[in-house]
């Protein structure tokens, strides 16, 4: 056997021995360029899916995603438009149909 390529992609990249993430793994998504780290979403979260970032002013951390109740209270509380969105897991996305054209789409 002879190695045809000898160069490793991304040599600095560390690979961690992570366990599987629980499913759904990301019920809410934070746009870190917009988030001010005010923690209003953390405070309102019904089930402590979100916790404060140990570093003050940084975006909260989604720690217990599988416990999300999907009511979006966190989004309602966020003062920065577009910083926080709630997403239903893929298997729950519902289809709809344009009555005139019959075109079917998914939310």
């Amino acid at each position: 056997m002879k190695k045809r390529e000898t160069q490793i992609d991304d040599p600095g990249q560390r690979c961690y021995a992570f366990p599987n993430k629980p499913t759904p793994s990301m019920p809410v998504v934070i746009d870190e360029t917009k988030c001010t780290g005010c923690n209003k979403c953390v405070n309102i979260c019904t089930t402590d899916v979100l916790v404060e970032n140990p570093e003050k002013g940084k975006p909260p951390i989604i720690l217990y995603p599988e416990e999300c109740w999907y009511a979006g209270c966190c989004v309602g509380e966020c003062p920065v438009p577009g910083a926080l969105t709630m997403r239903h897991p893929l298997m729950m996305r519902v289809h709809y149909k344009n009555k005139e054209t019959g075109e079917i789409k998914r939310v």
Binding site: D48, A71, V94
Partner: protein, 662 residues
């Protein structure tokens, strides 16, 4: 950012972000402590504070949105100036529908004071009227009061409201009145006089689910507002929140009551449910019940699936919220022909199988009158607890337009997945306990339990259900608890040994290290759910349930003591698991005590197949005394003369109905 990103960024595992203070004890002294800050708990706190009491309110989450706090869309059973419906009517339809298994006592109290409660919450800032005249001319609008109604446009006692505005308003009122709010403090036990089971209640303990600190509340009166139990049968390790009908309801209430010797009833009641993990977004699919009633349904080819009345006649869109001749009124939840709303044909599955309607079905709001479309998609979807952002905002952002598009329904004829109208599910292993009118605490005309000093509100009450009921009974119990507290001279005595025992119990999971079997809370809950599915499912008998009880006790006594909590959040989940297993034990014992089958209670026994025999028309009660299970019974009409008893207990109460009567 999730914890993987944190690790990737910092190169280290993430430390718990809050200070951990296991063992620290905080003493809180108040007149009234309210356990649970849902709508019931908030109203109880408000009314006790208005009576001059010092009040502590605790909740697992932040009470601005906790419990039924994200919203609701219909406020039921409320006699009001636009209606001729009486409190007796409100009680009657439920008693008829549930064949006597509805708690007419708390329902009557709620109907008597529901209008006053609603107006009081409006004054706190909730929106209950169409002040902008958005629905001017709609047949469900009362032009004078600007109230909007649902389900029965003629009898007008079921309100459409902007329910997402309620909880923030009530919470602000709590703060304004100086209620001491302990958010993320979780009640773990009741404290009783001398530490004795069944004695007067003198307060409660709690732990903070972020810091792990212990709280000892000493109070003259204690109010259980922790709602009901759920998730005994349905658990999947990964879609935990998705599968919960109500957030944070894990049987803490009934388990804490049970340990203290409080009398519960109807714990054997449950109903068929879908397997965990099969959920679609609540009220986020096209359908024809509750929030979406009376949405027009069509099949894949655009052919309308008719709404039919109890006699099978087709009901056109303009008639769907009007009682038929011979019907007194329409009540939202009733399937009794006297009060039922028109619905999809009962043989729909059969007709689909034969090809009359082609799957999938859709809800077609586009063809409905503007006011129906706007009410369903906008008020109802938009205020119902999990619809404002998840459905209304998100679906529109994804391109859905209710005036142009039809939303798919996920009806299938096989029985799976959700939502199925197929009867095959009824005998399946997956059950659901708390979806309205479940078991819970027996109360008297003061909404007091069998223990002195302890009151119950909302869904924590036997057969409790609904938002109006939670708010009205909360307001009432707060008043009664305050009156009781005012009669006591000094603060009650706390039993030190009882606190020490509870402290040891609560912190035990933090002191262990992962045990020999490496069992964690999820595995315990999975096992508990399996035991309930296999031994207390759709079809039961004595031998099955005995095995089930043995298995649940094995899990609780042999394996629970292995469960380890690595931080305060996980500690809470471990403690909740103990409560769920405790509730399972109560359910199994109640099911064994009811030696009869019952349609209403969803309790089907192979060894007692006769359905609802007359001698079993009663509630089975269950409590502990001296650590032993005591089974008792309670007549279905234990409330006695409704109006007479209410008047006798509330001679000085002045409200809308009293003024109307005099």
């Amino acid at each position: 950012m999730n914890w993987e990103d944190v690790v990737r960024e910092s190169g280290k595992p993430m430390e718990w972000p809050y200070p951990v203070r296991y063992g620290v004890v905080n003493d809180v002294d108040v007149d009234v402590v309210v356990l649970g800050g849902g709508p019931g708990g908030c109203m109880a706190a408000i009314s006790a504070a208005k009576k001059g009491c010092t009040v502590a309110l605790l909740d697992k989450a932040y009470p601005k949105r906790s419990g039924g706090g994200s919203g609701f869309d219909h406020w039921l059973n409320t006699p009001n100036p636009a209606s001729s419906i009486t409190p007796e009517d409100c009680v009657e339809w439920e008693a008829v529908t549930y064949k006597g298994y509805s708690n007419s006592l708390s329902r009557y109290i709620a109907a008597r004071e529901a209008y006053d409660t609603l107006i009081e919450i409006e004054k706190m800032g909730a929106k209950i009227r169409d002040l902008e005249d958005e629905f001017k001319g709609a047949p469900f609008r009362d032009e004078k009061t600007k109230f909007l109604f649902c389900y029965d446009y003629e009898n007008r006692f079921q309100f459409r409201v902007w329910g997402a505005t309620f909880k923030p308003a009530m919470f602000n009122e709590c703060l304004r009145l100086g209620v001491k709010v302990f958010d993320r403090v979780v009640a773990t036990s009741l404290l009783t006089e001398g530490g004795r089971q069944g004695a007067r209640v003198v307060g409660a303990t709690g732990i903070n689910m972020r810091t792990g600190e212990l709280y000892v509340f000493r109070a003259k009166a204690t109010i259980n507002a922790m709602s009901c139990h759920q998730t005994s049968w349905r658990f999947s390790t990964e879609s935990i929140g998705l599968d919960m009908f109500k957030p944070n309801i894990t049987g803490d209430g009934p388990a804490i009551m049970w340990r203290a010797g409080v009398e519960l009833a109807q714990m054997e009641r449950s109903r068929a449910a879908v397997p965990p993990g099969y959920e679609y977004p609540s009220y986020g699919t096209g359908n024809w019940w509750n929030t979406w009633h009376p949405a027009t349904m069509v099949d894949a080819n655009g052919k309308e699936v008719p709404y039919v009345d109890a006699k099978g006649n087709t009901v056109p869109v303009e008639e769907r919220c009007k009682p038929k001749p011979g019907q007194k009124f329409i009540a939202e939840r009733s399937r009794d022909p006297r009060y039922s709303k028109p619905a999809m044909p009962s043989d729909l599955a059969e007709r689909i199988r034969k090809g009359e309607f082609v799957l999938p079905l859709y809800a077609d709001l586009t063809s409905m009158p503007w006011y129906e479309r706007k009410a369903i998609w906008g008020i109802m979807v938009g205020n119902e607890g999990r619809t404002k952002i998840p459905v209304l905002v998100n679906y529109e952002a994804a391109g859905f337009n209710s005036a142009r598009d039809m939303l798919q329904n996920y009806f299938t004829v096989s029985g799976e997945p959700y939502p199925s109208m197929d009867a095959t599910l009824a005998l399946g292993p997956y059950r659901m306990e708390a979806f309205g009118n479940g078991g819970e605490v027996v109360v008297d005309w003061d909404l007091r339990t069998n223990l002195e000093g302890l009151y119950a509100v909302g869904d924590a009450i036997l057969a409790g259900n609904y938002y109006y009921h939670a708010c009205a009974t909360g307001r009432y119990a707060g008043r009664k608890a305050a009156e009781y507290a005012a009669k006591l001279s000094g603060a009650p005595l706390i039993d030190g040994a009882q606190v020490e025992n509870e402290k040891a119990r609560v912190y035990a999971p933090t002191k262990r290290r992962p045990g020999k079997d490496w069992i964690d809370w999820k595995e315990l809950r999975f096992a508990g759910a399996r035991a309930m599915q296999n031994y207390c499912g759709g079809l039961r008998n004595e031998g099955l349930m005995k095995t089930g009880l043995k298995w649940v006790r094995d899990i609780k006594e042999e394996h629970y003591p292995e469960a380890y909590a690595s931080n305060p959040h996980i500690l809470l989940r471990v403690l909740e698991t103990y409560n769920i297993l405790t509730v399972d034990e109560v359910i199994l014992q109640a099911c064994m005590a009811r030696k009869a089958s019952s349609e209403v209670l969803g309790h089907f026994r192979q060894d007692y197949p006769e359905i609802d025999p007359p001698e079993w028309r009663k509630w089975v009660t269950i409590k502990q005394a001296g650590g032993e299970t005591k089974i008792g019974e309670l007549p279905l009409d234990f409330h006695g003369d409704l109006a007479g008893n209410y008047e006798a207990h509330n001679p000085d109460y002045k409200g809308y109905l009293k003024k109307k009567r005099s």
